[in-house]
Symmetry: C2
Subunit: 271 residues, 2 copies
């Protein structure tokens, strides 16, 4: 097993869940980060069985959220209800981390949208505690504020999490979203006890698109070993997901992409 | 005169400086924000004379900076020397505000690049005081960190400015760059005495490009009256520049664009 490496399955998007699980097992990758749309293609029970049979562990499930009522395609449904369903899926899949993307600006009102996120957390925390699954608040890069996430910094995530027990509400540290933050080191240190996961990638320069702007670790300006050291100093020693939105990687077979993921992880991220 | 409105001349990019100055005077816009490339087309002395003859005032000159050695087109020249030249141009043009874009990540080292900015300020402050021109540190949106500006938040700008007198080092508050920041209100309040200018626009949603992503006030998610109220509460009552990078606006005659600037300013920004 390659220590701590987890394949976030969006990175090998052309792979189905069965292919991704088999591919990880064959390559010695012991963790996988799952996406609900890929899980739904085979059904939760089958997905859970496949993961188990291949000896993998699920580092996180992506995603609940969209509490504001606004997503990239316009208005969204009931984010709290959807997140409750996702908590049950997380339990079935054997992961204790559910990633939350909180949603964009609804009704053209940033303040109102942010309050809706806090209110949704109040409603969800009892269910998270009951199911033993942590809600992982993921701050998204400020360029995604309007459409995807009014949660924009780690500091803000910690403020949202503060009223709740650490086992119910944590934070997901995704390098793409936080590396530029002049307060990133201080915010990661302040997140001690709340870090539910660590996701790595690089930023494409120049940036082709606000979403499809990631590359393999080592291809951009992010100092992965520095940030890994920061999350470790804050007490996080769990799996490290490689999560890459990239049109070129997505167009290629997962079997070709995974070896590159492993190599870039070893060369630029791993201890 | 339309109270406090300033046309940042990048908004009417198809206009030469003489056209922009005449257009503002005719439309009752009393302030203009100048760009050095447009000034250079006619020469500093001619530009200064045209501004004076039309009864305009110059709200800011854009720009000095690129202290890190890295810009969007790759390595840059000596940012300190270039900024010294820009200070002299500011004096000649009759403005006391020089906007600084500090530069992107050089040598793939974010920490080093940020230290270079602090060192450049140390070198420039005596010249700024001597010339009576304020260096206006402009934090740029985090999506522009790698290529244009390792200065990403107002809080960080204030930290950089702190060792220096407020009359030498201020901050430029550009809505596009700071509106998403959960700490924007607190940071603007903390900037009292340092605010050298206020620039407005809106953010295009979805975002077509990390640079060409602006629209007229009122076309996006930014709450202009809220942010104007914040800068006023922090003691800033100077000109308000409308500064828009937008391919559609840039393709049209300035004479068509300026009335739309005035209308959007009146409807969405003005007291």
């Amino acid at each position: 097993m390659i220590e701590r490496l987890s394949l976030n399955q969006i990175t090998t998007r052309s792979w189905s869940l069965p292919d991704a699980v088999a591919g990880c097992a064959e390559a010695g990758v012991g963790w996988i980060g799952l996406w609900r749309d890929k899980v739904a293609e085979v059904g939760v029970e089958t997905a859970a069985r496949l993961v188990r049979e291949h000896g993998l562990r699920v580092s996180s499930l992506c995603r609940g959220g969209f509490f504001t009522g606004r997503g990239p395609d316009g208005p969204t449904g009931d984010g709290v209800a959807d997140t409750l369903a996702a908590l049950d899926e997380a339990v079935a899949l054997g992961t204790d981390v559910l990633v939350l993307v909180v949603g964009g600006i609804a009704d053209n009102d940033l303040g109102l949208s942010r309050r809706r996120v806090a209110e949704a957390l109040d409603q969800l925390v009892p269910a998270a505690l009951d199911r033993g699954v942590r809600l992982a608040l993921e701050p998204l890069h400020p360029m995604q504020c309007a459409e995807r996430s009014v949660l924009s910094t780690l500091r803000q995530a910690l403020h949202l999490a503060a009223p709740h027990p650490p086992e119910a509400v944590g934070v997901m540290v995704d390098e793409l979203h936080v590396w530029w933050d002049p307060a990133v080191e201080a915010s990661i240190a302040a997140a001690a006890g709340r870090i539910a996961g660590f996701q790595v990638c690089d930023e494409l320069v120049p940036m082709p698109d606000p979403l499809m702007c990631r590359g393999l670790p080592g291809t951009g300006p992010i100092d992965h070993r520095h940030l890994r050291t920061c999350v470790e100093a804050a007490g996080y020693h769990g799996p490290i997901e490689v999560e890459i939105f990239n049109t070129d990687l997505w167009s290629r077979p997962g079997a070709d992409v995974l070896p590159e993921v492993i190599t870039s992880y070893r060369n630029h991220v791993a201890p």
